[in-house]
C-alpha cells in the first residue's frame, strides 16, 4: 500500500518536473535571447533544444503512467481482494 502510494507520488512529481523543464526549455529555444540572459548563459539555445527533444519520450511515458497507473493498481487490488 505504502509502495503504491510512493510510486504514484514519484510519478506525479517527476511528471511535474518534466512539464516545468519542458516549458522552460521551450522558451529557451524560441526566446533564447531572454532565457540565456536570465540563466546567465547557462541555458543556451542548443542546450535547451537538446533537453527539449530528450524529454519527449520521458514525458509521454510519465503521462501514460500518470493516467493509467492508478486505475490499474485499483483493478489489481480489487482482484486480489476478490481472490481472498
Amino acid at each position: 500500500m505504502v509502495n503504491q502510494r510512493l510510486m504514484k507520488r514519484t510519478i506525479h512529481w517527476l511528471l511535474t518536473a518534466v512539464v516545468i523543464i519542458y516549458l522552460i526549455t521551450g522558451f529557451g529555444i524560441t526566446e533564447y535571447r531572454i532565457v540565456e540572459r536570465l540563466t546567465f548563459g547557462l541555458l543556451t539555445k542548443s542546450l535547451a533544444h537538446q533537453i527539449h527533444i530528450g524529454l519527449v519520450i520521458p514525458f509521454i511515458i510519465l503521462l501514460i503512467l500518470h493516467i493509467f497507473l492508478p486505475p490499474l493498481l485499483k483493478y489489481f487490488k480489487s482482484k486480489k481482494l476478490g481472490n481472498k
Binding site: 511535474t16 516549458l23 522558451f27 524560441t30 533564447y32 542548443s46
Partner: protein, 227 residues
C-alpha cells in the same frame, strides 16, 4: 510557519507560467495606434501556395538590422583572384536575376514557402575568380552572425542570394538587402543582412550556431545536431 509545497501550489505555478507565456504574445497589441499596412505580396505562384512574408518568427541574434542602402557594400574577399566591392545597385542591376519557390525549414519547428528572387551566388564568385584551394564560403552578416557552406554546394546548385520575396523587396526584418536561400539546408544557414562572402580553405570553420552545437552540414534530411 513553514508551508509544505502542495500539488495545488505546483499546479498554480505551472498555470501562472502558461498565463505569462500567453500574455507575452499579446502585450504589443495597441488598438489606439494605427498599424502600417504591409507591401502587396503575392501568395500564389504557378499553382503553389506561398506563405506570407510575415509568417517568419524573428529569431536573429541581434534583432532586425537597419542597413543604409547608400553606404552598403557587399564584399567578396579571401581566396579570390579579384576581391570585389559591390554597391546594392551593382548587385541587383548588373547581374542576371532568377526566381524560385523554396521552403525554409527552421530548427524551431516552423517552415515558410516563399517565392525568392535574386542572383546566383556562383555568378558573383565567377567574377571574383576563386583560387583553387578555396573550399568554404564564409558568409558574414551586418549583426555579426556568420555561417559557412562548402564551395561545391554553391557551385553545383542554383543557390540564390535573394533581394525580393513574394515580389516584395526584402524588408529589414527579413534581411534587407540580401538573404541567402540555402535550399535543402536548415534555416540557420539562410543568413540575412549579408555584407561579406569570404572564401577560405578552412573546411572546419563553424559559424555562429554551428559553434554552439548545431550541425555544420545542416542537411535537411539529417538531424540538426552533431556534425
Amino acid at each position: 510557519m513553514r508551508k509544505a509545497i502542495t500539488s495545488r501550489g505546483v499546479l498554480l505555478f505551472v498555470l501562472a507560467l502558461m498565463l505569462v507565456a500567453i500574455l507575452s504574445y499579446g502585450v504589443d497589441m495597441d488598438v489606439d495606434e494605427a498599424e502600417e499596412l504591409g507591401p502587396v505580396e503575392i501568395r500564389e505562384y504557378e499553382g503553389v501556395d506561398l506563405s506570407s512574408i510575415n509568417a517568419f518568427r524573428e529569431n536573429s541574434i541581434g534583432g532586425p538590422q537597419e542597413i543604409d542602402v547608400e553606404s552598403y557594400t557587399l564584399r567578396i574577399t579571401g581566396l579570390v583572384a579579384n576581391s570585389k566591392n559591390y554597391t546594392y545597385d551593382e548587385v541587383v542591376n548588373k547581374h542576371q536575376h532568377y526566381k524560385k519557390v523554396v521552403t525554409l525549414d527552421c530548427v524551431e519547428g516552423w517552415s515558410v514557402t516563399i517565392l525568392w528572387e535574386g542572383l546566383l551566388v556562383r555568378d558573383l564568385l565567377a567574377e571574383a575568380e576563386p583560387l583553387a584551394n578555396a573550399e568554404v564560403l564564409i558568409f558574414h552578416a551586418y549583426d555579426g552572425y556568420t555561417t559557412s557552406l562548402p564551395i561545391d554546394y554553391v557551385m553545383d546548385n542554383d543557390i540564390l542570394m535573394a533581394y525580393k520575396m513574394n515580389d516584395v523587396t526584402l524588408p529589414p526584418e527579413r534581411g534587407f538587402p540580401f538573404q541567402l536561400v540555402a535550399e535543402s539546408k536548415w534555416g540557420y544557414k539562410w543568413i540575412k543582412w549579408v555584407t561579406e562572402i569570404e572564401l577560405s580553405d578552412d573546411a572546419n570553420y563553424r559559424g555562429y550556431w554551428e559553434s554552439r552545437g548545431y550541425s555544420n552540414s545542416a542537411d535537411l534530411d539529417k538531424s540538426f545536431f552533431g556534425d
